[in-house]
Amino acid sequence: MCEQVTDLLDDPQPPQEVPGWAADLGLTGVGQARPTPSDPVLARLLPDGYANPDEAGEFRRLTEASLRARKQSNAETVRDQLERSPVDITDQVQAWLSFLADCRLILGTRLDVTEDTSMLPGLDPEKNLFLYLAYLQQSLVETVMGE
């Protein structure tokens, strides 16, 4: 899943390069205005911030690149931790929870999950993974909330 998330979120329009002096000040290029992604999965991971399309486009122009980067960073954090043994995620709980949420959004959108969708495992491996990740995420949330 980690690789799927990072590949999906690879930015096709990276922010423009900024001159050295701007980079030193922590300024980053903000890229071009862009529309809502046509891929429903991407659209759910990178949703519109305004109902009005012009405002949404402007908001997206300013924020999409860093949102993509943050989600990729979460996926990489999880992947790196999984490669270590033993896995201790105490310091990265938020990254894990956000990453699990993103995974479930990807799978859930692909599976066309609705409020009426049955939550029982069956023969579809993608659905089973979706349900399993729900169980994982639920367990992790309950643990950090001290339940």
Binding site: R70, L105, A134
Partner: protein
């Protein structure tokens, strides 16, 4: 009986006198209710009761106002919600 000028500080957020923008979180069929509650507690610092109440509003009414403030603040909040995988939008409070 005279009334002293009221300076009320809300228990949870400090809100400027004019709060023209709001951040809404929308219901979705994927995110777990427990996770949504966690996000509200974690990011906004709301107590369990308030976070759960907001979560139920999102679930039952389709959306809930999770914060109010300047446009910049609300955009920051909406982006944070998107980082958590929730869906949020910003609009004028009217």
């Amino acid at each position: 009986m005279s009334v002293a000028p009221a300076e009320v500080e809300s228990a949870d957020t400090e809100v400027a006198p004019s709060t023209p923008y709001i951040c809404l979180v929308w219901n979705d069929p994927i995110n777990l209710m427990s996770y949504v509650t966690y996000v509200f507690m974690q990011y906004f610092g709301y107590g369990r009761e308030k976070a759960e109440a907001l979560m139920w509003d999102v679930h039952n009414k389709g959306r809930a106002v999770v914060n109010a403030g300047s446009r910049e603040q609300m955009e920051h909040d909406a982006t944070a919600m998107h980082e958590y995988g929730l869906w949020a939008t910003v609009q004028k409070d009217d």
